[in-house]
Symmetry: C2
Subunit: 168 residues, 2 copies
C-alpha cells in the first residue's frame, strides 16, 4: 500500500479476529520502530513485543483505556526514557508501526495516557523507563471503512504562509 | 512506495535541490497530517504550510536547530495546544507527513525543541498555540543511502513478552 493511502485511511481498530500475526510481519512492525529517527539519534526507547496470550490478557485487564488488548493476538508496549524528546521520538516510532501494520491489513490502536502503571510490574520494566502507550495489533473483526473520517474541515487546521491565511 | 520500505529507509535530509514541490504533493503532505488520529479525536493542532521564499528565509534565520529551513522550497510548521496529548498526537501527524513525502522522493527533517520562539511572531501564531516543530521538505541535493542507519542493535531495544527477554 502506498504511504499516503495508508496515512489517509488509517483508522483505530479495537476488535480483532482470532488469528495470529505471522512472525515476519511482527518483525517488520518492530523494525519500523527500531529504525526510526530520534533526536540526536538517542533512541530513547524500548519496545516489548507481546504475543503471549496470558500476558495480553493481563495487560487488557489493567489498562483502563484498552481492555481490548486482551483480545489482540499481538501488542507492542512502547517504553521511554524520561526526557523531553522521548515522547515525540517514540510517538513517531509508534506511527511507523501502525502504518506498517495497516498496509498489511492489520489494525491497531493507541492505548495510553495513564492507567498503565500496573503494566510495569507485569512486564518487568525498570524504574527509569516509563510506558508511553500499548499498541494492540490484529486483523480487523469487522470490515473497516475506507478513509471516511470525522475531522475538522481542512481550512480550519491548515493555513498557508501565515496562521489563519487560507490554505487553498 | 510500500509503507515498511518508507519507514525502513526514511532519513533526515537537510540539503535540498532548488526545485519546487508540486501543489498536489504539498496537499497530500498536509492531508496526511489533517486526517491523522488523535486522542479523543480532539485534533489539538494547526499546520502552517509555507512555500513563501521570504518566510522560509526568515524561519531559517531564527531557528537554532534548523538554518537549512531557509533553503527548503516548502515547510510545515506544526502548532499544538497546551495539553499532554498534543505532543504525541502531533508527532504522529508529523511522521505521516514525513513518510508521505519520502515515498514521493522528498526528504525532510524535524527541527524543533526550543529556539523557535521567534517564529510565533513571524507567522502570527496565537498565544494559546505553541510550535512543536518545523519540518522543511525538499528534493535531496545529494543521493541518499538506502536504509543504512546507525542504530543500536535490535536486541537492545526490542524484547519479547517481558522486558529484557530476547526478541528472536
Amino acid at each position: 500500500m502506498e504511504v499516503f493511502e495508508a496515512a489517509r485511511t488509517l483508522l483505530a481498530v479495537r476488535e480483532y479476529q482470532d488469528k495470529p500475526i505471522p512472525p515476519e510481519t511482527r518483525r517488520r512492525i518492530v523494525e519500523a520502530a527500531h529504525l526510526n529517527a530520534s533526536s540526536m539519534n538517542r533512541q530513547p526507547w524500548h519496545f516489548i513485543a507481546i504475543d503471549d496470550r496470558d500476558t495480553l490478557r493481563q495487560l487488557g485487564s489493567i489498562a483502563q483505556s484498552g481492555p481490548y488488548i486482551a483480545r489482540a493476538p499481538f501488542a507492542v508496549v512502547v517504553c521511554i526514557e524520561d526526557s523531553r524528546f522521548a515522547v515525540s521520538d517514540a510517538s513517531r516510532a509508534a506511527q511507523s508501526m501502525m502504518l506498517t501494520a495497516w498496509s498489511e491489513g492489520i489494525g491497531s490502536n493507541w492505548a495510553g495516557f495513564g492507567g498503565l502503571g500496573g503494566a510495569k510490574a507485569i512486564l518487568g520494566i525498570p524504574d527509569n523507563s516509563n510506558i508511553l502507550c500499548i499498541i494492540p495489533f490484529g486483523y480487523p473483526a469487522r470490515r473497516v471503512g475506507k478513509g471516511k473520517k470525522e475531522r475538522k474541515p481542512l481550512g480550519e487546521v491548515v493555513s498557508r504562509n501565515r496562521y489563519g491565511q487560507p490554505f487553498a
